[in-house]
């Protein structure tokens, strides 16, 4: 399974990568903002995306909207500090499948990833 991590923080990407590798996923690509991610999705063809909200150049929400124009199926998990209900709803409307609020524990992230993948597989 191919997973794209979109976050401007290298530390956050490393944490996510570590959790994913513990879950057995090793085919991982990284992008440092929405624009970078858009330039990579076509060639990489991810099966899951973990996207931060607040990033320079292009934020996570704008990326999700742009990405969903072409791909309405591939699951996206928003990993962000934006915890307000209105923001969560805004993200879900844009096409996000699940939501993880920072700070998170590795266990929680792991749980959300599995939960999202299971739901998408069942759909």
């Amino acid at each position: 399974m191919k997973i794209l991590l979109v976050d401007d923080s290298k530390t956050m990407r490393n944490i996510q990568k570590s959790v994913l590798s513990q879950l057995g996923y090793s085919e991982i690509e990284e992008a440092c903002d929405g624009q970078d991610a858009l330039s990579k999705v076509k060639a990489f063809g991810p099966d899951l995306l973990l996207v931060d909200w607040n990033m320079p150049n292009m934020d996570g929400l704008s990326f999700v909207k742009a990405y969903r124009q072409d791909d309405k199926v591939t699951p996206i998990i928003m990993v962000t500090t934006e915890a307000e209900k209105s923001r969560v709803i805004e993200a879900i409307k844009a096409g996000v499948n699940n939501y993880v609020v920072k700070p998170f524990t590795p266990d929680l992230l792991s749980q959300r990833i599995q939960e999202t993948l299971e739901k998408c597989a069942a759909a």
Partner: protein, 508 residues
């Protein structure tokens, strides 16, 4: 001039091999009116075949007489055809191997050459070209001046035999089929998988380094090195040399290392005695007589019921059997049982690692607590810091869980090693220091054997009668001292008592 007149004036002789005839004329004889036909008739009369260019020869003779009328003249008047003998088939060593030999010889002449490293043996690898088989050649008969055939000797095929360790191709190329020493004798060439050194290893042989079994039929001199990829047997004395084998070593006499000798084996070592040698044995050590002043490590057992261990240090992983420990002179003899250097090294690494990991986890936990207390509503940076700290704590705890499991296995291994025993058949002399399972004692009073040195379950060094229940504390005959240079098992156990390991276990 007629032929009969000429015959009186000249002398014709045929050389012993019949390949030439000479015509000699005494000084003052005039041959100006002698024709080639007259000479031809004279030669025919002697049974000599008349050469085609007789005219030229006669003319040359006349010129010689004219030039030096006062001297005897002589000319080769007829020639035979020499036979061409055939050449015998032969083995020609490959130039690369010849160059190797040449280089060795040149090195011998140079002042800075390492004479110890100069090897007298040609070692070949599997598939390497070792030489060429030169075919024998045909013979061609000759003719003497009388027209008689001179028989030529025909060439004979090469008589050298090549065994199954070599392949001879149709065009005569010879390749080695095995790795080993190329042995060339008058009638046989082969690759020997066992290197047999019929003399001592000294300047005549240089150091020996062979990938398979080695047999030295004499001894090994000071400062030389013998290395074998297989087993190694040395028939006579080994001096202060270096002897290594990946397989077993058998020294039929022994080794007098004078504090400089080294011996190491990847399997067993068997010998009569070892003196002042650094010894490393991967498996079992069997010595008939003495192990004196050696620094010895035995990876399995010392199986030497007739051997006295006097002076030096003996480390044995799984114990074993000896005749005597220590000597009359009360010199220091250190005997350590249940010693595993690899385990000790791992223990040392863990002892250094654990405090670092614990400190890291504690620090991260403290910072996380502080962040939690400080912030009512987290900023993005704080949220990411908290995520990062939580991740560090989790990673540290995972690491500690794995350390705890490793420590537990290590303690079990040490526990097993501390149950090893050493049986001493005859005596343990004063001055001997015995170490087992982190406990040490210096013997003050002679202990008579047979007796087993053991560590009791309660951690007391004991002397036990073999096969019986009777035992006494070693402290009755020895003074207990702190064990130095061995892993502190109690300290390792205390590491696991740190409360953080309980949290880790609970989390796991």
């Amino acid at each position: 001039m007629r032929t009969d007149e000429l015959e009186k004036l000249v002398r014709i002789s045929v050389c012993a091999d019949g390949l030439s005839a000479t015509l000699a004329v005494q000084a003052g004889v005039d041959l100006t009116d002698v024709s080639a036909d007259t000479v031809a008739a004279l030669l025919e009369g002697r049974g000599i075949r008349v050469p085609s260019k007789l005219d030229e020869s006669v003319e040359a003779l006349k010129q010689q007489i004219a030039k030096h009328p006062d001297e005897e003249a002589e000319i080769v008047i007829a020639r035979g055809v020499a036979p061409v003998h055939g050449k015998d088939g032969a083995f020609e060593l490959d130039p690369s191997l010849s160059e190797e030999e040449g280089a060795k010889q040149r090195a011998e002449c140079e002042d800075d050459a390492d004479h110890y490293d100069r090897s007298a043996f040609v070692i070949v690898e599997e598939g390497q070209r070792v030489g060429r088989l030169l075919p024998h050649t045909e013979a061609e008969d000759g003719l003497d001046v009388r027209g008689k055939t001179i028989k030529a000797i025909p060439g004979r095929p090469c008589k050298i035999k090549f065994d199954e360790t070599l392949r001879v191709s149709a065009d005569g190329d010879i390749d080695a089929l095995e790795y080993g020493r190329l042995e060339i004798t008058v009638d046989r060439i082969r690759v020997q998988p066992v290197l047999v050194v019929s003399e001592s290893v000294d300047f005549s042989t240089g150091n020996v380094d062979f990938p398979k079994d080695v047999l030295v039929q004499k001894g090994v001199r000071d400062c030389f090195t013998v290395q074998a990829g297989g087993s190694l047997e040395i028939v006579e004395l080994v001096e202060a040399a270096t002897v290594r084998a990946e397989g077993s070593i058998l020294l039929r006499r022994g080794m007098a290392g004078r504090g400089k000798g080294e011996i190491s084996t990847g399997a067993d070592l068997e010998t009569k005695y070892l003196d002042a040698v650094e010894v490393s044995v991967q498996n079992d050590l069997r010595i008939q007589r003495e192990l004196t002043n050696c620094k010895t490590y035995v990876g399995r057992c010392i199986q030497s019921p007739t051997c006295s261990v006097v002076g030096g240090q003996l480390d044995v992983r799984f114990g074993g059997e000896v005749r005597n420990l220590g000597g009359e002179a009360e010199g220091e003899t250190l005997v350590r049982i249940g010693i595993d250097p690899k385990l000790d090294e791992q223990a040392k690494e863990l002892e250094e690692l654990v405090p670092r990991v614990i400190n890291h986890v504690s620090q991260a936990t403290l910072e996380l607590d502080q962040l939690r207390k400080m912030a009512t509503k987290l900023t993005a940076t704080q949220a990411e810091s908290m995520t990062s700290l939580q991740f560090e704590i989790m990673t540290g705890q995972t690491r500690l869980a794995s350390i705890a499991a490793g420590l537990q296995r290590m303690l079990e291994a040490y526990e097993q090693l501390s149950r090893c025993t050493l049986l001493v058949e005859k005596s343990i002399m004063p001055g001997v220091t015995i170490v087992i399972g982190g406990k040490a004692a210096v013997v003050r009073e002679m202990v008579r054997g047979p007796v087993e040195i053991v560590l009791s379950e309660s951690g007391t060094l004991m002397l036990r009668q073999p096969g019986g229940d009777s035992s006494m504390p070693l402290s009755a005959k020895a003074k207990l001292v702190p064990a130095k240079g061995v892993a502190d098992i109690a300290e390792l156990g205390r590491i696991l008592e740190n409360p953080i390991f309980k949290d880790v276990k609970a989390a796991a």
